[in-house]
């Protein structure tokens, strides 16, 4: 179920009304059931993957803390995904689950159970690390199979063909489960935190399953930390009106960003990055600027709706965006864009690799590895690897080139230099978006080549389309300027109540005026 559907607009109030009428444990049960229904609306089969991730990380985290769950419990949880698939095959034949899939799920469950029980036979000092590896191995294995298997097989075949060999064609048509990267990383982060002693293992399966599948942020983030979200899920506080005020404000702003800004800008971006479009320099620039607003409106809009929905339940999700296009250097950008992912990579990859503590070349290596993997996280496509590499290169350049380093220094006192740094970074970001949006390297080449010729040729007139873009980007920019003071993109606190009322009414009108162009969120594919 997508946020931008009438179903969600009925689903959310219904769950909310029930939630505040139930006692503590009932609330969690309701949230878990609602989350599973929310996810099953996409594909009921893939709930098995969510259950598997939950079972693996719940058991491993407990075991890391030295709390041994009973073998029967471990076995039952390990087989839960297979049982789910089996019941789907009986009760939902349209889901197309055959017994082979159930058998594979059961075999994997048994393998996990065996691994789990064997690790308990190891010496105490080795167990924690082994459980961590077991958790990472299974979770990344699931992610790798569903997200990257086809990609790597395809790349290997292409390489062998390039080398003049004729490999057997392996055909794998794997459907990508929505949100798999998000909930896998969230769950893994929790296990790593428990291993490091930064977070206690959650003793309640119900609480942990709700944390893993919390519907507002399950499919596209923000990627939460266990120590931040789990205690909030355990709270039994009473309803407060400010939950409603803050939640609705965030939801309206999110809808505005997604429906009015992103979906309308998408028209131009889709045209420019279509292989059949004759491009010139004007259209190349227009398209990438349109995409910059599209992806920002789309993803930050999703995040705002997620945060607003969670807030209605009295739960605070982390801020994922903080005026990213006002960044002055690449490091600043990653501190403002998809903050929950960039801090995940920082805490669980970059710093363990050594961060910036070693020699300069080691820092460069760590940056490169982190950004390459961050690129790959976005999708099983070389274009995302290139995008990650490009941002890695920017981070390195801003580190080693003194002129860039001083320009991008946020403490620069000169406003002129600050504006220049922002403008330069904006250009770098746009080039990055051109890489990100191009369906392949060939299309990226076409986009880059178009920057070299500015004659009209076969291209359409671009002036009216620029006005279209401006009409849809300007309200967002205005909103950003209105909220700049509080360093919070959705805060309208410093406006007087009549001004706030006017802004809400206008946003609502603009949202409804664009409702026909409903499209899926970009980040759902990751």
């Amino acid at each position: 179920m997508s946020f931008i559907t009438w179903q969600y607009l009925l689903f959310l109030p219904l769950v909310l009304l029930l939630y505040w009428r139930l006692p503590g444990r009932g609330r969690l049960l309701l949230l878990l059931a609602a989350s599973y229904v929310f996810y099953a609306c996409w594909d009921v089969r893939f709930l098995a993957l969510v259950m598997a991730t939950t079972a693996i990380d719940f058991l491993c985290a407990l075991s890391i803390e030295g709390k041994r769950p009973g073998a029967a419990r471990v076995l039952l949880l390990a087989l839960l995904p297979a049982l789910w698939l089996l019941s789907c095959s009986f009760f939902l034949p349209a889901a197309g689950i055959n017994l082979l899939i159930v058998a594979v799920a059961a075999a994997l469950g048994l393998a996990f159970f065996a691994g789990h029980e064997l690790i308990w036979l190891l010496a105490r000092e080795k167990r924690s690390r082994a459980f961590l590896i077991l958790s990472i191995g299974f979770c990344l294995g699931i992610l790798g199979f569903f997200k990257y298997c086809g990609f790597f097989l395809d790349s290997a075949r292409t390489m062998l063909e390039f080398l003049g060999m004729q490999p057997n064609k392996v055909l794998l048509n794997i459907i990508l489960p929505v949100g798999i990267s998000f909930y896998t990383f969230q769950s893994l982060g929790y296990v790593i935190d428990v291993y490091r002693g930064q977070s206690p293992a959650c003793p309640s399966l119900l609480t942990f399953a709700t944390f893993d599948a919390f519907f507002p942020q399950m499919v596209a983030g923000p990627i939460e930390r266990g120590r931040h979200l789990i205690p909030q899920l355990q709270q039994t506080a009473a309803f407060r009106p400010d939950y409603l005020h803050d939640g609705l404000r965030l939801i309206i702003v999110g809808f505005f960003k997604k429906v009015f800004v992103a979906d309308n800008c998408a028209l131009l971006a889709n045209y420019v990055f279509d292989p059949q479009t004759p491009l010139n320099g004007y259209w190349a620039c227009l398209g990438v600027v349109a995409f910059a607003f599209q992806i920002y409106g789309d993803f930050s809009g999703y995040t705002d709706i997620a945060r607003g929905s969670a807030k209605l339940f009295g739960i605070d999700l982390v801020q994922n965006f903080r005026f990213p296009y006002f960044a002055k250097n690449p490091s600043d950008f990653w501190g403002r864009w998809h903050i929950s992912l960039s801090t995940w990579f920082r805490d669980y990859l970059y710093i363990p690799l050594g961060g910036n503590r070693g020699a300069n070349w080691e820092t460069i290596r760590n940056l490169a590895v982190t950004m390459l993997l961050a690129g790959l996280w976005h999708g099983a496509n070389w274009i995302f690897v290139l995008w990650g590499a490009y941002h890695g290169l920017l981070l390195i350049l801003y580190r080693v080139v003194p002129g860039l380093r001083s320009l991008g220094d946020e403490t620069s006192a000169s406003s002129y230099r600050g504006a220049l740094a922002m403008a330069l970074m904006w250009v770098f970001i746009l080039v990055g978006w051109a890489i990100f949006r191009s369906p392949n390297l060939h299309q990226l080449g076409i986009w880059l080549a178009a920057l070299g010729h500015w004659h009209t040729g076969l291209s359409l007139p671009w002036a009216s389309s620029s006005l279209w873009l401006l009409l849809h980007a300007a309200p967002l920019i205005l909103l950003q300027l209105l909220t700049w003071k509080y360093r919070d993109e959705t805060s309208l606190r410093h406006l007087s109540w009549p001004a706030r009322g006017l802004v809400y009414a206008l946003m609502l009108l603009l949202i409804v005026s664009s409702t026909e162009h409903d499209t899926e969120f970009i980040y759902f594919q990751f």
């Binding site: 009216s464 706030r500 409804v512 026909e516």
Partner: protein
């Protein structure tokens, strides 16, 4: 007191603003939006019949009529032609479209003519029939029905939407608010259609009507359209005959480019249909025949089906010639062709 805490002043102010805007919209745009959710299947949308007998055509209910007015009762001695069809007869502008030019041509022939353009973009046979039924109430001397087969998909989709809209379905709720639909229409038709080039709209606007039509070039779909156009056009001819109103069927053709110098016309079988229905007050004019005899017909077309102003003029002249053939039945002695000189 409890409710006061739930509702912030900003929220109440927003509701107040929207409420005032809604009341304003209901007062000022009520007529404009009448029949909007019948999606062209409302018999009266776009026709404002005033008490003084004047009928005004306006843009409403999904009907983008050219603004025109006429008396409900045909003035004595006036030959009233009403043209019904899709975007082709609607033309690039009111005065460049063949219905207007037909009126001018008839006046040149000393006919006191009144030509009314009731053509609407995207209207297929089914919705044209709704317009035809209404037009027959206004005492036309001749109905010109432009028969095309390319809008069947839109007809069906709009019919389904009109039926759907009558249900309680929540997805329709926001659009039942006047200000929302007014702004939505203004955005789509005044901003979207004008600022975004057709090439982008047709390809990337997933829910744009034109894009949906363009995405259906399936041969079976085309055959189904022809069948429907055939059946409905038969009904239309029967309807006009039953009311004793002469009907001129103009069958659409498409200009297909086969290369820089080569082209051909396609009529999807509409010409044969027109010929089969001709007789007893029903006349037929084939667009294909009008244009195929020309040296460079491509110069009269703005795309495969739509005409440039010069093409509209040619159509108006061809209609007049057709009317001349039937001047007695139409009661237009002024159109009696002059006897040809024997050449002696």
């Amino acid at each position: 007191m409890k409710m006061k805490k739930w509702l912030t002043p900003a929220f109440l102010f927003a509701v107040l603003l929207l409420g005032v805007a809604e009341i304003g919209a209901r007062l000022f745009f009520a007529q404009d939006i009448s029949g909007r959710f019948d999606y062209g299947y409302s018999p009266d949308a776009g026709f404002d019949e005033r008490r003084d007998g004047l009928v005004q055509l306006f843009r409403a209910g999904g009907r983008r009529f050219h603004p025109q007015s006429f008396q409900r009762q045909r003035p004595p001695g006036t030959f009233r032609v009403m043209v019904i069809g899709d975007s082709v007869p609607r033309g690039p502008s009111f005065k460049e479209a063949y219905p207007f030019l037909l009126g001018t041509e008839l006046q040149h022939h000393a006919v006191k003519a009144e030509a009314v353009n009731l053509a609407l973009p995207g209207y297929g046979a089914r919705r044209c029939q709704v317009v035809l039924r209404k037009a027959l109430e206004f005492e036309p001397s001749l109905i010109v029905l432009h028969v095309n087969d390319s809008n069947k998909y839109e007809d069906e989709r709009e019919f389904r939407r009109s039926q759907e809209f009558k249900t309680w379905h929540p997805r329709n709720w926001p659009m039942k608010v006047f200000i929302f639909r007014r702004l939505y229409e203004a955005k789509v038709e005044k901003v979207f259609w004008r600022l975004v080039p057709d090439q982008i709209r047709l390809k990337f606007a997933a829910k744009d009507a034109d894009a949906q039509v363009a995405a259906n070039p399936d041969p079976e779909e085309v055959r189904a359209r022809v069948r429907l156009a055939r059946e409905t056009t038969r009904e239309n001819a029967a309807l006009a005959r039953a009311r004793g109103v002469p009907l001129l069927l103009i069958t659409q053709c498409r200009l297909i480019n086969d290369g820089p110098q080569a082209f051909h016309f396609e009529d999807h079988g509409l010409d044969a249909l027109g010929r089969s229905l001709a007789g007893e007050g029903v006349y037929h004019l084939s667009m294909k025949e009008v244009f195929s005899s020309l040296l460079d017909p491509r110069s009269y077309f703005s795309d495969s089906g739509h005409l440039k102003p010069s093409g509209h003029l040619l159509m108006a002249q061809a209609i007049v010639r057709k009317m001349q053939e039937a001047y007695q039945q139409l009661g237009l002695t002024a159109l009696k062709p002059e006897a040809k000189d024997g050449g002696g």
